[in-house]
Amino acid sequence: MALFIYGTATHTGKNFFTAEDRRAFFLRGYPANVWVVGNNEKGALWLANHNGVEKTKSEAQALVTADVNAAQAAWDALSEEARAGTNRPTEVTLP
């Protein structure tokens, strides 16, 4: 059985995920509103209860990569002055 469930869900702010959620299952957020949750009943319910759309890992990775690529392009377009002290956004690999 896969360790994780992949999906997209809009972060709605307070109580989008609670301390109780964090103790009950793995939960990590990534670019493009991609969320990786533990593959158990509570993780699946959390995604469903937040109007999440389940994705395959490769679909989720593609969304993340597209978002990072856009951020990299935006950074590349900045002037040298505007880049001062900042780093080019790095690739993100989902677990």
């Binding site: 307070k14 301390a19 990590r28 957020g29 956004p89 790095t90």
Partner: protein, 338 residues
């Protein structure tokens, strides 16, 4: 009759105060002297939960680091693109509200104090002409007022303290780039020079008070050359006069320059380089529960057991998210024969 010691190889420990998370093992059995009862200890781990989203996501945002999870101020900041912000937002534990702007848009400033009495000092704006600021602004609860300038214009400082007693440690000038090792102390109206730091640091996490402060991790260079900086795990404690090296942060926190809060003997920092969060007890570090999203160069503060982190960059590219920490707790349950 078989005894507890014969079964488990240890006798039951007698205690006269409630067990603390730091010293009590989950499931341990103790004899509670005041109540003359046997108790078991159940540990509920700490966890980061989502808070209200900032109205404007940005990074290099500053915080009233001595504020609380339910009373925090976030100000200044950078991005997306090259946008620079004078915005100030106030958090009540549920939602952020926009309040009066800073007199000037800046980022990478120092931030200390509380929601009702915050201090913003130094900073940088890439908007032409490039400016590294020496200006200081005091938040009086409803607006910002300019006050005494720092002697050395800087950004990326390690800052800690209150509105009337703050420290600005090291930092840099950008465009052209130069690192500093200077320390300045603020008394509510004037900045004065203190003893230099033992190195040229930027992006440290500053925590504590003017007479009991700490500057953690960030980046360090052996000289004032900005290009010479590299990630560090160094920890330096300040007593109001001198800097003293303390135990280093773990290698996994090398370069951490995100957010932090607490005191010299109960500090936390997180946000970079990963989602990991470190606690410092005045001597040693321990890695605790991670945030759900990576929020490097975000704002943050409040005490170790109830910290708050907001804004930042990388995961996602520009974040407006807030996370709030609930520290570990111990629940004692009375054991009965039934």
């Amino acid at each position: 009759m078989t005894t507890y010691r014969e079964i488990f190889g240890k006798s039951v420990k007698s205690i006269d105060t409630g067990p603390s998370p730091a010293t009590t093992l989950e499931g341990s059995i103790n004899y509670d002297t005041p109540s003359e009862q046997f108790k078991s200890a159940t540990l509920t781990p700490g966890a980061w939960a989502s808070g209200g989203n900032l109205n404007t996501g940005r990074y290099f945002i500053n915080a009233s680091t001595a504020g609380t999870q339910n009373a925090m101020l976030g100000f200044a900041g950078y991005g997306p693109g090259s946008s620079i912000h004078a915005l100030t937002e106030s958090y009540n534990g549920t939602s952020w509200s926009e309040v009066a702007d800073l007199p000037v848009a800046k980022s990478r400033a120092g931030g200390t104090g509380t929601q009702a009495a915050a201090l913003c000092f130094g900073g940088f704006s890439p908007a032409g002409p490039n400016t590294t600021f020496n200006t200081t602004e005091e938040w009086g609860g409803s607006s910002w007022t300019g006050t005494g300038n720092m002697n050395q214009a800087r950004c990326y400082m390690g800052g800690f303290g209150t509105q009337t007693a703050s420290v600005a440690a090291a930092g840099a000038r950008l465009n052209p780039d130069l690192l500093y090792n200077v320390t300045e102390e603020y008394d509510g109206s004037t900045w004065t020079s203190g003893n230099a730091m033992p190195g040229f640091f930027v992006q440290q996490t500053g925590v504590g008070t003017l007479t009991a402060g700490i500057a953690m991790a960030g980046r360090k260079s052996p000289s004032s050359a900005y290009s010479g900086r590299s990630n560090t795990t160094a920890t330096l404690e300040y007593d109001g006069t001198n800097w003293t090296a303390a135990n280093s942060a773990p290698a996994s926190a090398e370069g951490s320059g995100g957010s932090g809060g607490g005191t010299q003997s109960a500090a936390w920092m997180g946000g970079w380089p990963d989602k990991a969060v470190q606690h410092y007890d005045g001597t040693n570090y321990s890695t605790v529960e991670s945030t759900a999203t990576r929020q490097s160069s975000g704002g943050g503060g409040a005490v170790q057991s109830a910290g708050i982190i907001f804004g930042g960059i990388v995961d996602p590219p520009i974040s407006n998210a807030t996370e709030e920490y609930t520290g570990a707790t111990i629940t004692k349950r009375t054991l009965t024969t039934s």
